[in-house]
Symmetry: C2
Subunit: 264 residues, 2 copies
């Protein structure tokens, strides 16, 4: 059992930010990554459809034999965790609880959350933050243009700055001191967001927090591999060309061969 890999899935390439942080914290573990690139994005789709896609992605990883499932997609974490935990006899970690835990350290208790429509409409970040900090004022805003801007390579373009000014206006008005980047693509926009919000606002990257939570769980439950493995494998549901190109920007040469698979 302990020799099994950690399975990580996302709707596409963005979850590689989570993969990278886990790889750094737990370098001896085998990691399997699945990007559902034939059906990306999840963020604009209904909760029912995202739940079905997440169950199919998780079933593929479970069939490979994994000891832990990491949902590296905010939208899937927001709507599919209960169904995943019911279906699979495995620990399942999403990205929302870890991000909320970090955000709850806010000093002025005014917290911003940005994400896809699916994530924001689910209200899960708000719930998770209020569970830890009941008096928090949470301002949650969907930012649908940030993913295409990041994928276009325009994260620091004038267009991204102008878009951020528009989306972040209610967060600035609410004088937040903490902003949760509730989508795995958003860390690519970090410089632009920080510039628009000012240096006093703390940006919370769910990828880092999730990797810390995984490492903590490994210590608590003694899940670590007895000897060094460190194998990595990458799977996608569309042809791998685009994933390989964009993925290399996230992971560099760590990104090995990417194999196309059918799921669902």
């Amino acid at each position: 059992m302990l020799h099994r890999a950690i399975g990580i899935f996302d709707s596409g390439v963005g979850g590689l930010t989570v993969f990278k942080e886990i790889m750094h914290l737990l370098p001896g573990e085998d990691l399997l990554y699945l990007g559902d690139t034939a059906r990306v994005p999840y963020g604009t789709k209904s909760a029912a459809t995202v739940e079905q896609y997440a169950l199919e992605a998780a079933a593929f990883l479970a069939d490979q034999g994994v000891k832990l499932l990491v949902v590296a997609c905010n939208t899937a974490s927001a709507v599919a965790l209960p169904a995943l935990r019911e279906r699979f006899q495995l620990p399942v970690i999403g990205v929302i609880e870890p991000g909320a835990r970090r955000a709850a350290r806010s000093l002025n208790h005014r917290i911003g959350v940005i994400g896809t429509e699916g994530t924001i409409n689910s209200g899960r970040y708000r719930e998770a933050i209020h569970a830890l900090l009941p008096d928090a004022q949470v301002v949650a805003v969907p930012c649908p243009l940030f993913v295409p801007l990041a994928e276009e390579g325009w994260a620091e373009h004038e267009v991204a700055r102008l878009t951020a000014q528009e989306y972040l206006q209610p967060l600035i008005a609410a004088q937040i001191d903490t902003l949760v980047l509730g989508c795995t693509h958003y860390p690519l926009l970090r410089n632009t967001l920080q510039q628009v919000l000012g240096p006093q606002v703390q940006l919370v990257d769910s990828a880092e927090e999730t990797a810390l939570r995984v490492a903590e769980l490994f210590r608590e439950q003694g899940l670590a591999r007895p000897e060094h493995g460190g194998r990595r494998a990458f799977f996608v549901t569309d042809v791998p060309t685009r994933f390989e190109r964009v993925g290399r920007a996230f992971l560099g040469d760590v990104l090995g061969p990417v194999k196309q698979v059918r799921i669902g």
Copy 2:
């Protein structure tokens, strides 16, 4: 046979522009529309995956019994027409040939084409224009941000203007007199595009041209319904909420009940 409906499909809601034009030109025909909203968008996915999705969408419409198939999606028209024509014993019309035919009326033979990555990378517009106008200079540019901008309702926002200035730069430099809007969402950006390009550039809307081509085929092949029908039905693959909301902006009250179906 003549009593059968016309089947129209797109990856999502954008094909309703084609639906609307066909409805105006052939008001007595029954129309079935399918939006593959559970897997939208097609424009960033591989040709193989888009071909498979298009075959599944067409099979659903063929099972309803249609007399003509209209591929109201530029990406699917670019990569899936040969496979669709081979599989189904029906006339199949895409949006690329009609758009190219209109563009070939360019006076200075300098023609711009904008579309998704899938459409532009396929080279099909360039081929179709060169078949009609061999000396044409065709400048084709992918504009991935235009669809999310249109869906965000920012078609006339400063962000859209700035984005258009950047994307259209090579077309302005080439002094085009005609621009093909090679994606069903782009007509929503018409004002912004015209403003950036100047009034001397003719914008070609594939939706209008495709509807004209369908009407022409009906005359040529005697496909028209003997008596007035005019029933319309709408199907999607994700839950209909979002489609109904955005679709009403395209069609108004013509958009009747939308039914979710499973395909593939």
